[in-house]
Amino acid sequence: MVDSETEREALLAAISNVADRLTEEREYLTDLDSAIGDADHGANMDRGFEAALDRAESTDGDAAEMIKTVGTALVSAVGGASGPLYGGSIMSASAELEEGITPETTVAFAEAYLEKVRDRGDAPVGAKTMVDALVPAVHTYKKSIEADDLPPLEALRKAVDAAERGVEFTVPLRAKKGRASYLGWRSVGHQDPGATSTLLILEELLQTTEQYVDSEADGDSDARDATAPAEPAIDPDDAETENGDAVDGEGE
């Protein structure tokens, strides 16, 4: 268990890393969305997390309060169905973090988030949506913590791997929900943008957790500046590198 100041710093670093990553991947998400949607997912997620970082930085509250403001900002700033799906679900699930960030509360948060996304989006697994990345990630995380008794960092690594497989699984599927479903069979062969942005966010949460768990172990957590620009966190094993020139790192 960490003190509340470190917790706040780590959360802000995580939000900042996600915001930076979504700026980097803006065109990539837009390309994915232009194939089967309305080509706005990259810009929407980028704008959303920029607003979320702004709001989180100006909040004095605890972890639950901070994450709730992230959700509120996403609902307002992200357009389309992603705003209510990401933002509304984060808002609801944030209540699970009232006791702070622990293995148990993060499992509860992940489960509450998944439940809200499924409830609101009404999408089963296999409908070519963010649910296809989210379900394996949340189930793997919960199992790793509760059944296999793994350390949280290891559990999160396994969850990210599971999400990555889920994203790949969306490629051959025919969309059954959302705007892509209007395309019917023509949606087959394209990777789902919402599942992809879910994976990008999880990768940054893992990246940030690695930084903080390592620095805790080294005993120099105070040396870290949460407001410093994050390192670009592109792992060579990321799913998007399989899509040729998709990663170009440009924000506009």
């Binding site: 700033a77 357009g79 509304g88 989006g121 705007r179």
Partner: protein
């Protein structure tokens, strides 16, 4: 009086639907909400919330009619966040026919959120041919 809110991805569509509904239920309190926050095609939770709060100003409750996808989800969150007196319900109904039925029922002096919701939902059964 029970208020009615019409939510569409297009501001002009929402206004047009309200125009049709007001033809039959002219005295009803109907709010049109449409478009995303930049005025493009989409929906905005904050705008829907403002529409619900405006339609609810006399405390009689509100029935919300929606078109597609994000309109439903944003309306759900707007209801969670709106600070109003009285119930708010989303009608599982076609947006134009439902809005017209709801507006007519809302002008009934004995109307309740339940009766307006039921009137809107009845529009699901309408066949064109």
């Amino acid at each position: 009086m029970v208020g009615v809110v019409v939510v569409s991805h297009s501001e002009r569509a929402a206004e047009g639907i309200v125009e049709v509904a007001a033809e039959m239920g002219g005295d009803a309190r109907i709010e049109a909400v449409g478009g995303d926050r930049d005025g493009g095609i989409g929906t905005s939770m904050d705008a829907i919330r403002a529409g619900i709060e405006a339609a609810a100003d006399d405390g009689g409750g509100v029935v919300v009619l929606v078109d597609l996808g994000s309109a439903v989800m944003n309306a759900e969150i707007a209801i969670e966040k709106a600070s109003i007196e009285g119930d708010v319900e989303i009608a599982d109904a076609p947006v134009l026919e439902g809005a017209l039925n709801a507006a007519v029922e809302a002008t009934n002096p004995n109307a309740t959120v339940e009766s307006v919701l039921e009137a809107a939902t009845d529009a699901r059964e309408y066949r064109k041919l």
